[in-house]
């Protein structure tokens, strides 16, 4: 009973936090009256306190404000790249899963070659091709996430295709196209939606990582990875400049993971 309540509490706070971050991304001015780019030489490297809850950086910019304004880029990249990868992944994966064996075999060898590389390295290589830049970072993390979605979409398609209910539908004389539309695709999409919820977190971290390495947006754009990177030279004197953007990324990713897992559990529970 208590464990259940605790789980509930965790889920509710995670969902609430996600809502707050989404609002930050859409309407950052609700949270802070200050402009994220305004420097103030009288307020350099103030530690967190009244007026500057997260402190200020070396040019006197309010870290809280910059973190709030950074939400739109990180969340935009996270959601946008994940959605794009999901859509392309589902289309390709489902087609491959339904295709004749030869096509499936060749396509999956290709995907396996891509899967042989860790996502972050694929994103790095993509940047090597596309060149640095905020848009390219989004494309790169999307491309990096794609092979995994293709693989899962294909695997799910095969599972559903071999399932008893697809056989039953066949046994009732249903047209394959109708079987695909009414059984295969909806049942394939379900688990992928859940995986994508968790995937948003991975994408946000990857994008922030590329920015951190200086391959994404450039100063003075408020972006979480970039803010962190800016704070690393100040670690000895002003830990807050790097700490709060990182904590924000972590909390966002944790929340997305908690919500995603909850969805997954709900789905698996229904199956058994």
């Amino acid at each position: 009973m208590r464990a259940r309540l605790r789980g509930r509490l965790g889920l509710i706070s995670a969902a609430l936090f996600l809502v707050v971050v989404i609002v930050m991304a859409i309407a950052p001015w609700i949270f802070t009256p200050i402009d994220p780019l305004t420097t103030d030489t009288s307020q350099i490297l103030q530690s967190p306190g009244w007026g500057h809850p997260f402190g200020t950086d070396q040019t006197g910019r309010d870290v809280f404000t910059r973190v709030v304004y950074g939400a739109s880029y990180s969340l935009g990249v996270g959601a946008g790249a994940t959605a794009a990868a999901l859509i392309v992944g589902v289309v390709v994966g489902t087609l491959v899963g339904l295709a004749p064996r030869v096509v499936d075999g060749v396509a999956m060898r290709g995907v396996e070659i891509l899967l042989a590389f860790p996502e972050f390295l694929i994103a790095l290589f993509a940047i090597a091709v596309l060149g640095p830049g905020p848009i390219n970072v989004a494309v790169a993390v999307g491309v990096a996430a794609l092979p995994a979605y293709i693989r899962v979409a294909r695997a799910e398609t095969l599972v559903v295709r071999r399932s008893g209910y697809v056989e039953a539908a066949k046994g009732m004389g249903m047209h394959p196209l109708r079987v695909a539309v009414s059984h295969v695709v909806p049942n394939t999409l379900r688990p992928l939606g859940v995986i994508a919820t968790i995937g948003i977190g991975t994408t946000i971290v990857a994008a922030a990582g590329l920015s951190f390495l200086g391959l994404g947006p450039q100063d003075p754009t408020p972006e979480w990875g970039l803010l962190l990177s800016g704070g690393r030279n100040l670690l000895g004197q002003a830990w807050w400049v790097a700490f709060f953007p990182g904590a924000m990324i972590t909390l966002t990713v944790v929340s997305a993971t908690v919500v995603g897992r909850r969805l997954r559990r709900a789905r698996e529970g229904r199956r058994s």
Partner: protein, 314 residues
Amino acid sequence: MIFRRILARVAGMLVVVWGAATAAFLVLKLVPGDPVDVMLGVSAQASPELKQSIRAELGLDQPLLVQYVSYLSRLVRGDFGTSYQLRLPVTDVIGQQLGYTLQLAAASLALALVIALAGAVLVHGRAARGVFSVLELLAISSPPFWIGLVLLSVFAFGLGWFPVAGADGIQSLVLPAMTIALPVAGILGQVLRTGLEDAEEQPFATTARARGAGPARLVLRHTLRHAAIPALTLAGYIVGSLLGGAVIVESVFARPGLGRVALAAITNRDLPVVMGIIVFTAIVFVLVNLLVDLAYRAIDPRIAPPTTAIRGAR
């Protein structure tokens, strides 16, 4: 039969490496901009004649197919080309830095394994497991560069236990290795713990307990082996985290290593080095996958080719 399977396996490995090399070649040929400009540096205003002669020297004026064939034949001989920036053979560039990264990767892996195993096996009781799973979730969700910075500010700047940067001695390895190890340990620990819990609910675990086996024996002789199977599927992901983590961690802690080389090559468009690293990574992954397969066979005696229909039943 066995000989044929080994042959097929080796062929499959070569195909993956070849595919990666080809993809790298094709994609990097699509890169906008003239590599010769990269070689000469942005500031240098070289004459068109000089550029042309360099291009001819590198074979860049040849048709694409010719370039591709010569690229492959050089690869087979172990020649990855010459870095535009460093004017060194790519194999030397990688070779010089490999040691540092291997050291880091090995230390990270060892740390991650110890933490994950300790967390999965030794942590008992609902409350302790609950706390541990929250820690795991945090470790998984935190970006590695942030973990690195937090560790730095606490243990290097705050407490002064470890150096802030560099690569001399064990002291300088602890924080970078910890940075890479924590997220890996988080995921690995979770998978191991779930695996152990699943195995504990299997009928054979009940049978073992009915023979009087205690918790230690149950884990060591029975369930840990079962938990290792899902953990092995993570091997590719873990190696990826080690290499990807190296790029970030070497930058955060100002350590030499492959990650730094990769980052420099990407920002400077040093294409031969980028290609070399792609092919190197592909080789690493092919070998890791081979090891994982062998490990599966060692752990699970049930793995054998299944009975199949003569015609495709799909």
